[in-house]
Structure formats: C-alpha cells, structure tokens
Amino acid sequence: MASQYVAELCMLLVEDNFGELFGRIFSTLHRYERLTLQRLVGFTRISESRLRAALVAMIQHHLVYHYTPLEEGVTYYSANVHAAYYLARSGKILELVEDRLGRYAATVMSTIMYLGHAQVSHLEALPRLQPGPEMNGAHGEQEVREKHENGVNGMNGDHIPSQSTLHLTLKDLAAHGYILRVREAHFQSSADNILDIERHIRLGESVQNMKGKKLEEFVLEKRADMLKERLDGDLTRGLIINGVPRGVKRRRVNGTSDDLDNKRARFDYDNAGISGDGEENGWWDDDIPMESSLTIRVNYDKLDVALRNRRFLDLAEREAPRETSQVYDHLLRRIEYQTTKCRDSTEIPREGEEGEQYSVSIPLSALTQDIDPYVDLVGSLGPMDTSPNKRLGKRHFDDTVNGDDDGGGGGGDDNDDGTDRSDGNRAYAVDQHLSLLAQPPFNLTSKRLNRGLVTWTIEFRHLARKLRHLELERIVEARYGDVALRVIRVLQAKGKLDEKRLQEVSLLPFKDLRQVLASMQTGGFVDLQEVPRDAQRQPSRTIFLWFYDPDRIRDNILQDTYKSMSRCLQRLRFERGRLKEFLEKTERSDVKGNEELYLSEGELERLREWRAKESLLLGEVARLDDMVAVMRDY
C-alpha cells in the first residue's frame, strides 16, 4: 500500500474532504511512518494545540492510528491509508445502501460516515436525522414500508415516533452488517494490535512452561483468536434470522407476508444446521431500540462484499437473461448476509497459489421462497427436450432464416409442455437457472449436495480472479486491439510459449503476431524469457518464450490506476481554480439554493458546465475505484 501514488491519492482525498490541515498531517505521517506528537510538531510546523485538535478529529475519522506502548508511555501516531482510501468509495457505498434500504438509510449512513464514528444517542440528537416534514418527501417510500411493517406486526398504529424510524434503520443497517460496533482495537494499526496481543500471550500464565517451536505455534494460534475477538464489532448477532436480516422478508408486500409463521417454520427446518440461532426469533420485536451508548462506524469489509457481489451480478446480467440474473441476485443476497469479508488473507494471493474459498451454501428451497412468484422462470429458458435429431434435421448449417423459424416452432410445443410441469415445481425452474449460471461461459455458481439437500454456492476466489482478468483484458483490448487479446488469452491458458507454438494456437500471421507482441512488451504486458541451449548463450541457440504474468501486470496497473485517480482529482482542483471566483459566488449563502434568482443566464450555463465537468471527473474516479476494488480488495 505504501507506494508513492497511493500516498498522493490519499492525501488528495483527505485534503478534498477535510481541508489542507488534515492533508498536511496525513502526508507527513505517511511519509515518516510512526511519529510522536513532538516529532510531528517538528515536521509539520503546526502549533501543538492545533495539532492536538486536528489529531483528535482525525482519530475520530479513523484517519490516524494511535498507540501508546505501556512501558514507554509515549503515544505514537501513524496514518491509516486504508481508511483514507475508502473516502473515494463513499459515494458508491451510499448508493448501495440507498438501493437496498432506502433513502433514509443512506442519509443515516452518510451521517455516520461524515462523523467517522458516532454514538447512537448522538445520532438521535442530530436534526438532520429527524424525519421532519421536509424530509417526508425524501423518504416517503421508506416510511410507507415502515408503516407497513409495523402494521403487520400489529404493534403500532399509524403514528410512528421519529426515534423509532432511526432505530429501525440502524437495526436494518446493523442486520445487513453495514455498520459495526467501534472497538478499542480499531484505533490501533493491525501491527500494533498483533504485537500487543503477542506480548500479552507471552506474559500469560499458560505459556510459562513452553519453549521454542511449541511456544511459537501456540502464540500464533492464540494471536488469531485474540485479534478476532478484539476487532470484532459484529452487530448482526440476533438480527439475522435464519440467514436473512430481520425486516427483509417482510419487504415483500403482497401475498407472502400472511404466512410468515408458516414460512419461518420451514426455514428452520431447511437450514437448522447452518445458522443455528433459531431461538433468537424474539428479535422480531421492532420495539427494542438500539442501545444508545453504542458507538458505531461503517463496516467497509462487509460493504466490499456487497459491492463485489454486485460485480458478480453484472457479469451475469451481461450474458444471461434477465430472469436468470434475478435468481442470481437472490442467491447473492443470501450469501452476502453470511459473508463478513472478501477474503481471509490480507494480500491477494499469487496467481495459481490461490486456494478456493467457497461461500456459504444456500439451500435451493430457501431461494425458491425468496424469488418473486411472478417472475417467469420457465419461459425465460429454452426448452430442454428438443430432440437433437429433429433440430439437426430441420436446422441445417445454412444461413436461411426459414429453417430457423421451423426449428423454433417445433421447439415451441415442447415449451408448452414445460409450462405445465412448472406449476408444481418452481424449485426445479430455479435450479435450472442456477445450473445455467454454473455452466461456462458463466461459471458463476456451483452446486453442492448437503446431506441430501440441494444447495448452491459461489466460488469466491475463482470469480474474483475472473473479475481481475477481465479488467486486465479490457485494458489490453483497448490499447492493443482484439488480436492482442487473443494472444494474451492463449498465453494465459497455455503458459509460456515460443513464437511458433503461439502462432499455431492463435492462428495469426507472423507479422501481426510479432507486431502485437512487441508493442505489448513495450507496454509491459508480456515478456520474453530466454532459455539458452548451451553455455554460450548465443541468440541462435536460445529458445525464446513469451509469457504473461497477470500478477505483475495487476500490480502495475493498480499503481497506474491510483495515479490516474489522483490525476483526475488534481485536474478537478485545477479546473476549480480556474473558475474560483465564479464558484465562490455560487457558494455564497444567499446564492446557494437560489441560483435561478441571483445568477444571470450565462452564469447558469457556466454553472451547468462546471457541474458536468465535476461529475465527469468524480464519476471517473469512482470508475477507477471499481478497478482498484477488483485488483486489491476482492
């Protein structure tokens, strides 16, 4: 993480969001790593009192880690690059939350983000979170839902106290895992945490009579447990019922909510072995508010999972019919609820050294319940039982359209048969859709048999790798054309190849092949390995092998992406500087909100232009962040 461009980017993000003072402190801390307050004063040349105030605020925003070793009693500060980077992702996160939980939830989320972390009681007191009359329009839909929920439960009448809306939303967020409890250890860097824990363990009673290797193993094992315990801010406990956050089930407005109890019973049966907290059904009570002393923050790990799932869904949507991707969406939702982070290791493992990591498996029956009963699942797939003979007979390999129509008509009859069958057997149809996704070219799902129950799961690492390759391939295609893409894919599938073999597989003329290889080598996408056949290393007696190393390229591209992001932000700042005076005018408190009133036609046009520019550049940063997420976080 500690490259030049990340530093540059993070500093820009901090500066854009919090101003120059924070930016200066952040970049100093990043450059010099750990610093005490005194040294920080020396390097930044900011007065101690201002520095103290700023540091407190930065700690509040998790931009700075602090750590006070017991024996020294001096506090060290260091920059939290990760948190700073997530500033770039905040827009995307809010959009996701709004999409899932409504406008009001997004407002709550953005408030929590804005505050870094916040106590529930503090949120209660904030005026912008009070659903006042002017807010009603903004989240009317949300409120309707809440009303409905309460109506179903028969606990409240039509009147909803405003506090309860906040608490319900917070609980929704908590149940989805989007927020977590702030723990002491969140303020220290992971290295500090680990050292601290190790010290603890070594001083503990149980290790006194252990030595050498045994001791190390014990420490390592214990360390992981304690780290998990210290950092654990999970709020979903008790809010997830049988693998689904509370409230989610009842979103379905029509028809399904009346047999809730019935369904719940069935769920218990389905995955009793998977999430055995059926006894916590008591949490259906919406009346119990969140503890007001609770301090919460955004759970970026979980949100990455959600965003990653959205990318998987995009993959499905590109190729599969709409209904199939809807089914997939439901599967992904279910999986998201039970996945806390994208991967176990901190770094993305090297290509080929990566083990597979399966998601939790979701029973088919649960999925069938989730899916909208009005989605046409059978009609959205072709018929299975067209006899191949008939097809072969009718559809010759010619281009005439007539032949097609005949074949299609023949298939139509079979389709009708399928519809009859589907009435009683929706699970079969869902299974068919998921099976389609399990096949190439998708490979998006995989089927498991779990004690006789059909369950579906996702191969996370495989798909994350697929996303990464896709991003790299897109770049290759854009820069070097589709011929290059073919070459890259051949090299990736076959490993190292010499020119002749490469030509045989890729079926490209030597001239084109050499051209494209040379230009890609200049760009650093492919490289040559020399294998001399004798000790003299003469070129004529040397085998040259082309290869493509996705890990190396990923690293390079990642750095380039950081750089591009910061270039976009820098350009934005420059553009802003150009229009400085005009923009200052538009931001005057009397003009803001009344632009039509105070600005001339030309000025309005300029403002519109500026907004377009700004949204273009910021949008591009978000697009680049998508790539960073794929290459670093997923």
Partner: protein, 356 residues
C-alpha cells in the same frame, strides 16, 4: 564365388521369380524380412547365401530397397518396375540422393541434412538435385516452420501437415481471409444451435407479464427476434464432428478440412471469447445469432465505439491517462502535469456535456 558364377543365370531368374511373387502376394508397402522371402518357397529352404545373392541382384536392379528393420535385422521393400527403371538411369550419386530424399517421405528433407547424410560435396549435391528436379523426380517444398530452409521431397508426394502448416496455410503463409471466413461460419452455426429462438406466437404472451415489484418486463420491440439460452445439460450443442461435416458440406472451403483443423479453429474462437467449450466436446456460442450477424455485417473500418461485443469498458480505458503516452512522466507541477494536460482538455470537452 564359384557357385555364384556357375548359377549366375539361375540367380537372376530366381530373383525375378521372387520379385514377381512378392508383387503378387504382398502390398507394395510390405516390409519383407528374411523369413517372409523364404516363406514364399521359391528358394530352396534355408539356402541363405542364395537368398542373399537374389536380394542383392534385385537391389542392384533397383527392384528392392534395402532397409533396416526392427532389431537391426535386414529388411527389404519392393519397388515397382516403372520406378525401378527411373532409378536405374540415375548416376550412383543421384541415386544416393534420391534414396535419402525418399527415406524422409512426406516430411521432406533439408538440403544440408542431405549433405550430411550422403557426405557428398556441395557442388556435386547441387548438381544431383538439379538433375533430379529436372527429371521431375523430386520437388522443392516450402516448410512453414523453417521458412528459410530449402527442402526437397519426392515429386509424387503431397507435403505433410507439418511442412505446410496444416489446412490454414496457403503456400506456406497463413491464409487469414480463409480463416476469417471459416471462423465466421462456425460462429454463426454454433450460435444458431446454442440459442433458442422464441417463436413469434409466444412473444406476445410474454409481454403482458408483470413482476411483483411492479416493473413491467421490458421486451424488445416485436420486430426483433428474441433468443433464450438453453438450460444446463442441453444436449443439442454442436460437436466438432458435426461442425466439420457442416463446413465440408457448405462449400466455403476448397480443401477438405479434418476434425483436427476445425478443433484448432474452434480453440482459437474460444480464445477470442466467441465460443466456449463444454467439456471439450460440444461448443456453445456466447452471443446469439442476431448479435453475431450484426457484428459480421459490420465493416472492419467502422467506428469501434459502437461495438458492444468488446468487453465493457472500464475506468482505465476511459480516462485519458489510460491511453496517455507520457503517463510515466506526468507529475504535478512538471513539464507534463495534470494541469497542462491536453488529453484531459479535449476529453472534458468531449465528454463533459454528455455526462448528466
């Protein structure tokens, strides 16, 4: 020697009887061992010296070719009489060269390798090759693997795939147009078989369907055909054999393509992201026939921005930095900087108004 001298006539006679028997009883490709020849019962049994004399006389007449069989045993092959006549007219050097070239069969032999085997001087070798070529006994061939090497093979043979590079080469050069035509045909054929075309009567019915979240199912305008994928486990996807047969029937290829050629092309299409292989036997296309047709109808020179069979764009391909030739030099405040970047300037002007 004495016996050879006395029975000279009978040896030739025996030899020619032996040759006739070989011709009539075995295919011309048969490899004869000592036992085979003795087994013909023309020679008195177990008279090995006589057998040796007979075969030697046949070899001298170029009617037999001496070979080394398994376990270093001597073996012979028959040469048809007309070929033998040809060979008899050759000078010893020429016949040496001819035999070496013959021994390599369809794969041809490099001139330097001939020199190495025959130990002939280069000028003599050149003369031999020239005269053999002039008599139309051998021909020079172009090898794709070693384009710079001069190779020879017998005139009557067709070069093997290794030499020509397979069906995709014409005169030793990869025939791009041919490949494009055939691959286009394959893609379209596979595509037609891997998508189910919704019959027109069903289409109108689907339109009315609504989902519970209130969104009406969006359907394409009725003029367009609608395609659905087949469910998993569908058996109708075309196989290599079926595709090969279809290609050879279609008449787009002047030469007959073998399954391995087609497999090669199919693999290439897989790498192009156009097809996917299902368990290595059947193939399924990624795009439906309408899309395939649309792309194939497009001229290569047309604006690539309308192409949506490209992988979807990403951040790096959109931002000017992704294509910037001086990206590595770009530093804030430097000679190349985000402030004075002309690519940004044009990009913002092009895209700015669109991005609302």
């Amino acid at each position: 020697m004495a016996s050879a001298g006395t029975s000279g006539g009978s040896v030739t006679e025996l030899a020619s009887r032996l040759y006739d028997a070989c011709i009539s009883q075995f295919s011309h490709d048969h490899l004869f061992y000592q036992q085979d020849l003795l087994g013909l019962e023309i020679l008195p049994s177990n008279d090995l010296p006589l057998l040796l004399q007979c075969t030697q006389s046949l070899v001298d007449q170029k009617l037999f070719r001496l070979l080394q069989g398994k376990n270093d045993r001597l073996a012979w092959k028959i040469i048809p009489r007309e070929d033998a006549e040809k060979l008899q007219n050759l000078s010893p050097d020429e016949s040496l060269v001819y035999n070496v070239i013959h021994s390599m069969g369809r794969s041809g032999i490099w001139v330097r390798a001939i020199g190495g085997r025959t130990n002939l001087h280069k000028s003599i070798l050149d003369r031999c090759l020239k005269s053999l070529e002039g008599k139309n006994y051998i021909k020079s061939v172009h090898n794709v693997k070693f384009p710079s090497r001069k190779m020879y093979m017998l005139a009557g043979l067709a070069p093997s795939e290794e030499v020509t590079g397979g069906a995709w080469f014409t005169d030793g050069v990869l025939d791009e147009n041919f490949i494009n035509v055939v691959s286009g045909f394959i893609e379209f054929s596979v595509s037609k078989k891997s998508w189910y075309e919704v019959p027109a009567s069903d289409r109108s019915r689907n339109k009315r369907l609504k989902t519970a979240d209130g969104s009406v199912t969006v359907k394409k305008e009725s003029g367009q055909k609608e395609y659905l994928p087949y469910p998993a486990g569908y058996k109708g996807y075309p196989t290599v054999a079926a595709l090969t047969a279809a290609i050879n029937q279609s008449g787009i290829t002047p030469v007959r393509l073998e399954e391995e050629n087609v497999t090669q092309l199919l693999e290439m299409l897989c790498y192009d992201n156009k097809l996917v292989s299902l368990n290595g036997e059947a193939y399924k296309s990624v795009k439906n026939p309408a899309e395939v047709k649309a792309r194939q109808a497009r001229k290569p020179g047309e604006d690539p921005s309308v192409v949506d069979d490209q992988l979807v764009r990403n951040g790096m391909t959109e931002v000017p930095c992704g294509q910037c030739p001086v990206f590595n030099l770009c530093v804030p405040g430097g000679a190349v900087s985000p402030e004075n970047c002309e690519y940004f300037e044009t990009w913002i002007h092009e895209k700015g108004p669109l991005s609302f």
